[in-house]
């Protein structure tokens, strides 16, 4: 990698930062400081705008670089990820989007707490939302650091550390100054950039093979050295039964977790009605589905054009497959086309990380201020405006994320994304579905459902091989591994549902019939929606 790539990539990326900061300044000059404005962007985005923003929130650098890299290295098995990430949106569309838009205001806890004793439920739901967000955030921050090392060739620890600090500072600025409106526009800009970049590369790959997908696949299989096995499942997850079960567990977490991600749920409040929320999900399913289809082409394209050996030589996890492919498609190293395409891909990947962390920071600052602070502050203490608290919370979360990002800098944290989905599916989804659909659900059930999913999910990961007991773990020196799977979903998701049921049937609280009637009527008709 020559200096040209780096300079151009840095220039393009600085351009993106300048545009996003301009958006933030422009938005913050017209702000009114209301909670409606800060958390929900005034609820006036159109379905198309929100659809792009949802897609922007969801398509992380892990999907763009990670999935295509997995396909380049292991063929078919990488594709399984993309399918899980996409099918998850049907759960969101069918069961969550419209109903949550109708009966909530800003956060998940709003929906749950409506018919319960408010304080314990809000604290539980707020705590689990913040946990999910922080896990996801740290994964993205560490990813940003290693991306710099990979793409710019600056492997020194200092460059990585400064990247983590820079990303953290920018996301705090976006969120605390611009709130939801700035964050949404940044997501839209990023989604357009990412999709255009992907479309260009996909077209170039297909042109290279004269539109013959069959030949693309056969060339990829041939260059992989695995033959036809490259085009069938089993190269990565087909080992012992343990790793197969692990993949099923991850698959469940992916498909059920999306509907419990706080930064996705908060996006539905930025549109005026449930109908608009539905239409924005339809937009985002189209965009996300198209995106994953293209990453499949890029992954097999990288295997066919660059070859798995060269990809693995550059980065063992395959994260540089797409940048290397871009370099080759543009005309090879040293050519102008190659330099430009490589720089574009690198800049798009940075933009992606920056936009995703901003979305998550906003959602977690909403959970801290709207759920935790509002429930935990002293009743007659000094009353601060909730939005001011949220702005400070964004800064606090930024500091925590930077700190954890720096600590975890050299660790392999790829499992954190899967874990964030598993926690969302085990702690947030059961309580959300029970509150929307179960007449007899009680406060104790809600609290148990959250903690009964959250604690097992975290606990099982601590006892799993990702933390100890194997050479790749966080602490390879010690061994307290008792749970064989890396992803806890297959155990912790049923536990979350079970705990919610158990808490409800054992409590002597009489379920609030009128409260359920209100939730049901509001969720399906939109009566009284804000």
């Amino acid at each position: 990698m020559t200096g040209d790539h780096q300079t151009l990539a840095l220039l393009l990326f600085s351009g993106f930062v300048a545009v996003t900061l301009a958006i933030t300044t422009w938005v913050s000059r017209r702000r009114h400081g209301s909670a409606e404005e800060f958390y929900a962007g005034g609820r006036l985005f159109s379905p198309m705008e929100n659809g792009f923003a949802i897609a922007g929130d969801y398509m992380s650098a892990a999907s763009f670089l990670g999935i295509s890299g997995l396909i380049a290295l292991y063929g078919y098995d990488g594709l399984l990820y993309g399918v899980g990430f996409l099918v998850a949106w049907l759960v969101v569309l069918y069961l969550v989007a419209e109903l949550v838009r109708n009966c909530g205001r800003f956060t998940l806890a709003d929906v749950v707490a409506a018919r319960m004793s408010e304080r314990p439920v809000r604290i539980a739901a707020g705590a689990s939302s913040v946990t999910v967000s922080v896990l996801y955030l740290v994964a993205q921050m560490v990813g940003a650091g290693s991306l710099v090392a990979l793409l710019l060739g600056r492997t020194s620890g200092a460059a990585q550390a400064w990247t983590v600090i820079g990303v953290g500072a920018l996301m705090v600025i976006y969120v605390s100054l611009g709130g939801m409106r700035a964050t949404t526009w940044i997501q839209i800009v990023k989604a357009v950039l990412l999709l255009s970049g992907t479309v260009v590369l996909t077209v170039l790959v297909l042109l290279r093979f004269h539109g013959d997908v069959d030949r693309l696949l056969l060339t990829a299989a041939e260059r992989s050295g695995q033959g036809r096995a490259f085009l069938a499942p089993g190269l990565k997850y087909g080992g012992d039964w343990n790793s197969r079960l692990d993949f099923v567990s991850l698959g469940l977490a992916l498909v059920l977790g999306t509907a419990g991600l706080p930064h996705i749920l908060s996006r539905f409040y930025t549109v005026p009605t449930a109908r608009a929320a539905r239409r924005s999900v339809v937009w985002s399913i189209g965009l996300i589905g198209g995106f994953y289809l293209m990453t499949i082409v890029l992954g097999f394209g990288a295997a066919a054009v660059v070859g798995p050996r060269a990809v693995r030589g550059s980065n063992a996890a395959g994260n540089t497959a797409v940048p290397l492919l871009a370099l080759d498609l543009g005309g090879g190293a040293g050519s102008t086309g190659g330099t430009v395409l490589f720089a574009v891909v690198a800049a798009v990947a940075f933009a992606t990380i920056l936009a995703v962390v901003a979305g998550i920071t906003l959602a977690s600052s909403a959970s801290v201020a709207h759920d935790l602070y509002a429930s935990l502050r002293r009743r007659h203490g000094k009353h601060r405006s909730e939005v001011a608290v949220a702005r400070w919370a964004a800064a606090g979360i930024g500091v925590v994320a930077i700190g954890l990002g720096l600590l975890a800098r050299d660790l392999n944290v790829a499992f954190l994304v899967g874990l964030a989905f598993a926690v969302a599916a085990s702690a947030n989804l059961p309580v959300l579905l029970y509150s929307l659909f179960w007449r007899g659900f009680t406060t104790r059930g809600a609290v148990w459902a959250v903690y009964g999913g959250l604690l097992p999910a975290i606990g099982l990961v601590l006892l799993s091989p990702v933390v100890s007991g194997s050479p790749e773990s966080l602490f390879p020196g010690v061994d307290f591994q008792y749970f064989p799977l890396e992803n806890p979903g297959i155990v912790s998701i049923p536990l979350g549902f079970l705990a919610g049921w158990l808490g409800t049937v054992t409590s002597d609280e009489v379920p609030d019939e009128a409260g359920y009637a209100e939730t049901e009527v509001r969720s399906l008709t939109g009566a009284g929606a804000v």
Partner: protein, 151 residues
Amino acid sequence: MAYEDPWYDTSASGWGELDGAGMPAPAVPAARAEPGAAAARARDVYVEVQRSEAFQEVRGRYRRFVVPGVTAFLVWYVAYVVAATTAPRLMARPVVGAVNVGMLAGLGQFVTTFLFTWAYARHARLRRDRAALELRWDTQELARGAQGGNP
């Protein structure tokens, strides 16, 4: 939402209005409301709407579509993941050229996701939206009447 205005004339808003869906006119308070009682009556409005035939119909349409839909796509997805991890032989069986059963199943997941999305959006637009919107206005009218103030 619970905005109580003691000077608001309840009889001017929502008095005796039918919701147009065959639901009997709700009991609307005759005079000014005390705050606590007003909130309780607003809650009664939701119970009343929930028991109405119009709402039962909307809820039935939603559930009759969503429950089989969710079951179908979850079963199809889990079957796909389990087959991919436990039966790689089956998935590797060639169909046409480089395309094998696994490829078709994977692309099938994409196609069915788009189809399920289209079907849901269409069902909601044609079978639920209008009725839900009418119920929404009726419910808000009733709630306004019961609360004795503009929500």
